[in-house]
Amino acid sequence: MANNNDTLLMAHLMRRAGFGASRIELDALVEQGYDETVDHIIDAKPEIPVSDYMIRRYQPDHGSLMGSTTNGSNWLYRMIWSDVAFQEKIALFWHGIFATGYSKLANGKVLHDQIKMFSKHGLGSFENLLVEISRDPAMIVWLDNCESHKGAINENYGRELLELFSMGTGNYTEQDIKEASRAFTGWTIANTEYMTLKSQRDSIWPYGRLSFHFEYDPDDHDDDEKTFLGRTGKFNGEDIVKIICEQKATANFISRHMYSFFVADEPPVPEWPYKEPNDSAAIDALSSVYFDSGFDIKEMLRFLFKSEFFKSEKVWNKRVKSPVELVAGALRLTKEFDRPSREEYFTCLRTSYMGQWLMHPPSVEGWHWGTEWLDSGTLVERVNFSSSSLGNLKSAGVKNIAENIRKSIKAPFKPEQVIDLALDQLGALIVSDNTRSNLVEYAESNFKSIDDDSKIADISNEDVGEVLKLVGAMPEFQRA
């Protein structure tokens, strides 16, 4: 199989910067070149072939986004349909950090709006993103900033802004939290009492849910002098964000998040103060880009994807795919949803059975990634999903892959060839010797060697589908 190193590296890039790519897609990208592909996916304006109008016509809840799961289902459509999935991957990255959940908001639309904000601002300056998340209505309610008033602050947002969103524990004082909270007084949503009451009561009456919008109340803003991280002034929220972004701790914190999400799993965030990064040099290099670029997320990621620490074979296939990454990646291969479909809703629900219910993070800390995705229950669900999806010949993408494999089979044919072809067509997958041995054992039990081209036609799509199903069950398909 012609899995040259360029193809394998491109497959690695696409698994990390997107949700994977088929062999046909990889060939086109390799032709384009690695650096050019990095620039393209970072700078592209993604196109989604099925419009919001089309989805809303058939699935009206995708218009109002009232409920707890439709917003995730709507997002999954974008993940599987976008021609450049990087923007959705970025939104997923920020959703894991600025984790905001339905359980308190009871309003899917405002969470959907937050994800759209991540897509829009998630590749700009980190300073701007922090301002946007500070004025995001879902966040304001999630962390109670609408309950923080001049003379009676609620520290929830100020604390998490420093602890979970920017600097990490150990880099600020309790007094800094109070001062930051004072600076964000007056940052609220319109009609606070009615909107939060509807959320608390999960009220859909009388006419469904109402979207929230940001409102700045100057009368409720504490405009007195504050001292924050050693600086003093009549700070408002934007000033606090600016000071935060100038801190070395912030650069390191965001760099470590990027490394963990795109390169290799780091320990959970609460352990960061006590555990050094797996690759301190990489974190330092990313931090330098952070400052040199004026806190520009896009330039940090451009640097990351072109770096040797990202390209290194040592990190290939080392990350456990999150449930959403696993499902979106499989669906991009199977192409089973070419138009709005009620079945997509139930497929999206399966990510929750695997431990990642979009817009339902377990806490403000988000999900713990890495091997924590795997337990005996979630692993069975994951393997069942990927195996049944990749083996379903009713899906246009699977049928196409199976036919491509059959067309590539020539006499003299040895059974192990069908394994190599399947691994190749499913995105230039690399498997361990043990996995390959198991796959070959299956092939040798179910395929015969063929010396005559006229007998090649005896191999059916169904025969190949069984191989695809088996590859989907291999541990390597669970990794990115």
């Binding site: 009206p60 809840d61 218009g63 109002s64 009609n191 009456w205 009388p206 109402l210």
Partner: protein, 336 residues
Amino acid sequence: MPTSVSNIVYKSTLGITAMQGRGFYFPYDFAFDNSKKMYVLGRGHDGDPRGCRITVMDFEEEYYGTFGSHGEQDGQFIWPSSIAINSQDKIFVSDEYLDKIIVLSTSGEFLFSWGQHGTGDGDFDGPNGLTFDGDGNLLVVDHRNGRIQVFDEEGGFIRKFGSVGNNEGQMDLPWGISTDSNGHIYVADWGNHRVQEFLADETFVKNFGYYGNEDGQLIHPSSVTVDSNGFVYIADWGNHRLQVYDSEANFICSTRGEATLSKWAQEFLDTNVEEKEARLKSELVFKLDGFEDDPHEESAHVEKFLWSPTAVKVHNEYVLIAESNRHRLQVFHQLS
């Protein structure tokens, strides 16, 4: 044709959000029987099948119950799209997922159904809008096949017209359908952003609207109806408004909606005083940057505006329009 008309005048709002029982959950269409009861077809959504039902009420919001449920058995629906009632008070419901027309009595008893997925005569690929012509035949918008099929009241195929495309007489994912007193047929040609008018013999007459958000322009119209004066009312689904034209397709007026509290909504708030008081203190109508370019987003924030109007129909001197996303019907006076 009147020589002068005024803007369409709002009258009232009907209904309330309810996943089950009294109220609607994503209403897609409605129809009246001979006793003046109204049957509101709830689409529900894939995650909550309870909303998939028919709510029976009248114009004064007297509630008579619900029937129908989510499923694939006789008399059940998956993606119900349209409802029409014939002169014998038989209820016809199209289901664009099951590719069937389902016939029920006004008490909800399953009578019969027909249809299967396909492109042949009597087959469907997503049956949508329904209406009866002057002969009592049922016109069905077979939307992915880009055609109208005509059946007798027993489901027997009579004829068909239209094809997929954007030329005159062709259609792109059409949705709603209506006829006028002259037997002309009006089709909401959703994908082509227009309403097409045909003679009873299916000869193309003219278009109403074309793509855009200016007066008289349309984005993905979902439904159309014609009153006895010849005014044509179009549910401009993508612009989230109701537009009115004269019979020559000249724009007359439009409205984004004026919803107020229905009887059922008022009763809800009267028994949930805390919400009522918080609501009274709120400013529920406002302008935000970007609203002018995005009526969907505006309607998500401003409750009184139409949000995804799916069906418009004339009843007596009124025009009613169902909004799936706000789970209610707004009632306007016909132009005169």
